[in-house]
């Protein structure tokens, strides 16, 4: 049987890939693009850290402003938000539910093209008009309306990326409703599918809000309409509300699929069925729905009534409950399991550790009294890097190591992967934990320069960034080497029970010779 890499259409080379509607090819292309942007964003981050050990030596203040903005925009809009659903979701969702492709293969291809178009425009905005923007990734008005940098084009690019996201959401939700194999009822779906389902709804419901807010910015810049500018009767706080009504749920667009991957890996490497399947599945829905109602916690210091602040703070504490349910169920799955510390499991365990730190510090800044002190400091930066990188990033690497043999049919060096993981883990904590200390001591975020008492913290953090990049370099060198020279991977190297391990590595065209009939749950070890 032919793997999906073999060409069956009339087109050759790049066209065969770009015009393909095969969910696996689209997933691979997304993966390549994501990793490209991730590396770019990471290198920009390293440059920023470099400035912070000796402000002014390597770059000027305005360059620094542009760098942290581009770092944020690339990592958030081009990597983390599309992230797991478009790459691993695209590749594995149909296989995991026993389907031949997604419900709308051509819409899937369209959303890939839109992603490319959005990314292209975003890159163009760095060089045309006023050049790379300096607003921070949040585009806060009224500054985003006044700055001479090319906000309009960048914002328009994000607008297009939003459409790509909505289409992926509609596609996945429909696929999960319509294309499950016979016998695959809702409670026999792998947990990764549950999280993609919740994420799909968040994408459909939340993304239009940011699309509209960004359009308003463009209208305000071109036609001088006063939505957000107080001197024209607008209200800058309105922009913050609109922005965070999307961007907080977007945090869950990033994190839910990451949690889904952890729920796949933990049972396989503990040789044990997941503890509390339904609790884990429904907690994804709970996070997706409650996550809509917490956006105000980004704006505790922006001018809100005390009642609103208390309510938002309370709901923020509530949304931590389903995340806690997941973490506790993963730990309970490990209990008395036959644990194998293969690379995917190491990444998954570090997810639990780092995400817990990220989540708990989230409660520290979700509480009103502490928020007023920590708002706008490095504590926030530390917090969201623990959640985004420690959460989504670690999960992405876990998935990459877990599914690499399936996607490419090659095996990587497990020893190299473990060395890379260890260095990454150490570098990560050096880099971001010092930010908690810096922020607690009052170092504001986004500052180019600082008084001397913060130097040690910044130095440790910057050294951490070098260690972290070394770890990443080892990890990716290992995977790229495996891609070309790795030994043939078996069909089921980890002993997984879900459907993707029942098909050859790499999977054939249309995944299954015959659609399987499902008779039991996904993790029956």
């Amino acid at each position: 049987m032919n793997s999906f890499y073999s060409n069956i259409g009339p087109r050759q080379g790049l066209a065969a890939w770009m015009l393909s509607t095969d969910h696996k090819k689209i997933g691979i292309m997304y993966l390549a693009a994501l990793l490209l942007f991730f590396s770019t964003g990471t290198l920009i981050g390293v440059l920023m850290r470099l400035n912070l050990i000796s402000p002014g030596t390597f770059m000027g203040a305005q360059t620094y402003n542009r760098l942290f903005t581009i770092h944020g925009i690339i990592q958030i809009f081009l990597f983390i938000i599309p992230g797991i659903p478009v790459s691993f979701g695209n590749f594995f969702l149909p296989i995991l539910i026993g389907a031949r492709d997604v419900a709308f293969p051509r819409i899937n291809r369209l959303s890939w093209w839109l992603y490319l178009a959005g990314a292209g425009l975003l890159l163009a905005s760095l060089f045309f008009g006023g050049g790379a923007l300096d607003t921070g990734w949040t585009f806060y008005a009224p500054y985003s309306i006044q700055t001479r940098t090319n906000v309009s084009l960048a914002v328009f690019a994000v607008f297009i990326l939003g459409f790509s996201s909505i289409l992926t959401g509609i596609n996945f939700v429909t696929t999960i409703h319509r294309l499950r194999a016979p016998g695959m009822n809702w409670h026999r779906m792998p947990l990764f599918v549950w999280t993609l389902y919740s994420t799909g709804w968040v994408q459909i419901l939340a993304t239009p809000v940011i699309a509209i807010s960004l359009l308003l910015i463009i209208l305000e810049r071109f036609f001088g309409l006063g939505f957000f500018d107080p001197s024209k009767g607008g209200d800058p706080v309105l922009f913050e509300h609109l922005f965070w009504i999307y961007s907080h749920p977007a945090v869950y667009i990033m994190l839910l699929p990451a949690m889904g991957i952890i729920s796949e890996i933990i049972p396989v490497f503990s040789r044990k069925t997941i503890f509390g399947y339904k609790a884990v599945a429904y907690s994804a829905l709970a996070i997706a729905s409650v996550g809509y109602l917490v956006w105000g916690h980004h704006m505790f210091t922006s001018g809100m009534s005390d009642t609103a602040r208390v309510v938002f703070s309370f709901i923020t504490f509530i949304v931590a409950v389903p995340s806690g349910i997941k973490v506790l169920n993963w730990v309970a799955t490990l209990y008395k399991g036959s644990i194998k510390l293969d690379p995917p499991m190491l990444f998954a365990l570090s997810f639990i550790f780092l995400f817990s730190i990220g989540g708990l510090t989230g409660l520290v800044i979700g509480a009103l009294a502490t928020n007023l002190h920590l708002h706008g400091t490095y504590f926030i930066v530390g917090h969201f890097h623990y959640v985004m990188f420690g959460g989504m990033g670690m999960s992405f690497l876990a998935a990459l190591h877990y599914w690499f043999p399936k996607m490419f049919g090659r095996m990587y060096s497990e020893r190299q992967a473990k060395i890379g993981w260890l260095i990454l883990f150490i570098g990560f904590n050096l880099l971001y934990f010092s930010m908690f200390v810096l922020g607690f001591n009052g170092m504001p975020r986004r500052y180019f320069d600082y008084p001397p008492q913060y130097f040690t913290g910044h130095l440790v953090s910057t050294i951490g960034s070098w260690v972290l990049v070394t770890g990443l370099a080892i990890i990716f060198r290992n995977l790229i080497a495996a891609l070309f020279k790795g030994p043939q991977a078996p069909d089921n190297p980890w002993g997984g029970k879900t459907l993707e391990w029942q098909v050859p590595s790499p999977p054939p065209h249309e995944n299954f010779v015959e659609i399987p009939v499902i008779t039991s749950g996904p993790y029956s070890f």
């Binding site: 389907a99 031949r100 163009a124 045309f128 008009g129 006023g130 009224p142 309306i145 006044q146 700055t147 001479r148 906000v151 309009s152 084009l153 328009f156 509609i170 939700v173 429909t174 409703h177 319509r178 294309l179 499950r180 194999a181 709804w201 459909i204 419901l205 239009p208 509209i212 305000e220 810049r221 071109f222 036609f223 001088g224 939505f227 500018d229 107080p230 001197s231 024209k232 009767g233 607008g234 209200d235 210091t301 922006s302 001018g303 007023l372 065209h509 249309e510 010779v513 015959e514 659609i515």
Partner: protein
């Protein structure tokens, strides 16, 4: 043909986005809040205000500005029927005078001028009673004057200090919040703005630093002009102006439509059930 049209339209749209944004930058030049906007402070440091302008004091006597300017003056511009930021501004003035080492009535005087021509000496008298009481202690009542006056005189003073205020139907006036410190010759020495960190975090939304004000008054005594210390330029403006009701209605309607579509999509998916896949290789 349709496809060609689509490409043409998108190319035009992109063209617009790549052009230098002529209109986007006109609004507010960075660093000078409100300088050329519809509302704000255009600082006129070093210029003089018209001392021949005539106003009414709280008793209804006419009084020319020249008579008041025999020592440095801290001028605040409000309107007395304001129930939003003006009381906060005047309370902040009352608070900060309590903290100054300088002697009111000797080293400086306070002048509050209403820019609402409908205000009368009676409303000014009420305001004075309140704020003199708020300062407390032995504050000499004649060191803080509350003036009212005719439209053309008000306009001359506003123009001279560079304040733009706008009448709106919802709540009287939209206007900037700042103090103007003048020398006894009527020369504008400096503007004093509210301290930024107070604005959102404390109940006193407006507060002036005694340090800033002392420095300004001392410079006014010497007639030395300087740079204003930019803390935060606060505006008083209606939270939901009339013109934006339409905007919020559009948001409500489009939000309702989106939610309706999404719910129908969910209902359709739930009712239509699974598709049978019978294609086999």
């Amino acid at each position: 043909m349709k496809r060609l049209l689509l490409i043409l339209v998108s190319v035009c749209f992109l063209q617009v986005l790549l052009l230098p944004e002529a209109r986007g930058h006109e609004g507010l030049p960075c660093g000078r809040p409100g300088a050329s906007g519809d509302l704000g402070v255009d600082e006129r440091i070093g210029q003089r205000i018209p001392l021949d302008a005539v106003f009414y004091d709280e008793q209804g006597h006419t009084i020319s500005l020249r008579k008041l300017f025999n020592r440095p003056v801290v001028l605040s511009l409000v309107y007395y029927s304001c129930d939003r930021v003006c009381p906060l501004l005047l309370s902040a003035v009352a608070d900060v005078t309590g903290e100054l080492k300088l002697v009111p009535g000797k080293d400086y005087s306070l002048v509050t001028l209403s820019f609402d021509p409908d205000d009368t000496p009676k409303t000014a008298r009420d305001a004075k009673k309140n704020y003199i009481k708020l300062v407390g202690g032995t504050f000499p009542a004649d060191a803080w004057l509350f003036l009212t006056g005719a439209d053309e005189n008000i306009k001359r003073v506003l123009e001279a200090v560079g304040f733009t205020v706008k009448r709106d139907e919802l709540h009287g006036f939209s206007h900037p919040v700042a103090l103007v410190v003048l020398s006894k010759e009527g020369k504008i020495i400096r503007y004093v703005y509210t301290a930024e960190d107070n604005f959102f975090s404390s109940r006193k939304r407006v507060a002036f630093q005694p340090f800033d004000l002392t420095l300004a008054i001392e410079d006014a005594e010497k007639g030395k002009t300087g740079f204003s210390i930019k803390r935060a330029l606060a505006y008083c403006f209606p939270h939901q102006p009339k013109g934006q009701e339409a905007f919020f209605n559009i948001m409500k309607i489009s939000g309702a439509i989106i939610i309706f579509l999404i719910v129908s999509f969910f209902v359709y998916l739930s009712l239509s059930g699974r598709k049978t896949q019978n294609r086999q290789d």
